[in-house]
Amino acid sequence: MAKLILLGPAHEAAGRREDNFDGPTLDDVLQEAVTRYGAEFRALLEISQVWLNGESAAPTTLVDSHDEIMVLPPVSGG
């Protein structure tokens, strides 16, 4: 199970800050997340970046229990 971390507006859209998914690929995790969380999350995901263990990754990348997937909506720091 890969861990999905939902930050800022993504945690609000998903209704949680963390979740777990089976995969097997990064894209499978994101598709399942959209199914679980609904339209608001889908819209936010479209404008967000997704990092696997702190870096960009191809949608076909295989993920397992050591992996941390982070959804990063457009930022507003400073």
């Binding site: 971390i5 930050l7 800022g8 507006p9 945690h11 609000e12 404008i47 970046q49 702190g54 982070m70 990063l72 909506p73 457009p74 930022v75 507003s76 720091g77 400073g78």
Partner: protein
């Protein structure tokens, strides 16, 4: 979460920031210039009046790593830089209080001004941080956002 100060001092913190402390810390005998930027909470945004506070959310470990990337990049671009300090608040920050402080030192002012400007611009573009605007009776995520990029691409 503060790094042990050496030549870089990076912190993501819930505690109040002190621009004076950072300005003093970057002073070096061979430096004739210190530039300090302090970003503070203002009472409005592009879409709202009467803002009374901001509330910042992040993943602290990731944000700290990305701040290090900003400092690495600024040192590549301005090798004459001496000390660099970048601190960012998380949690709730009240009106007119510092949310972020950048302080840099260099032998001459051009490098200090340019490097400090780069640091705050690259921080805003590359560090995973989100703020809510708070007003009497409500709050909302800021809509002054930008897609996250790498500091080297700033």
């Amino acid at each position: 979460m503060s790094s042990a100060p050496t030549s870089d001092w990076i912190s993501i913190t819930e505690h109040p920031l002190s621009p004076d402390e950072l300005s003093n810390w970057v002073v070096r005998p061979n430096c004739g210039a210190v530039v300090t930027f302090s970003g503070i909470v203002r009472d409005h945004s592009s879409s709202r009046e009467n803002v009374i506070a901001l509330e910042y959310e992040t993943n602290a470990a990731m944000a700290e790593q990305r701040l290090h990337d900003v400092v690495d990049e600024v040192r590549k671009r301005w090798p004459a830089l001496e000390r660099v300090a970048v601190h960012h608040r998380i949690g709730r920050v009240q009106l007119s209080v510092s949310t972020v402080v950048v302080a840099v030192s260099a032998p001459h002012r051009d490098v200090a001004f340019e490097a400090a400007r780069f640091c705050i611009d690259a921080l805003k573009a590359s560090v995973p941080m989100w703020k809510r605007e708070l007003w009497e009776g409500g709050s909302a995520w800021s809509d002054e956002t930008s897609p996250i990029v790498n500091a080297r691409d700033q």
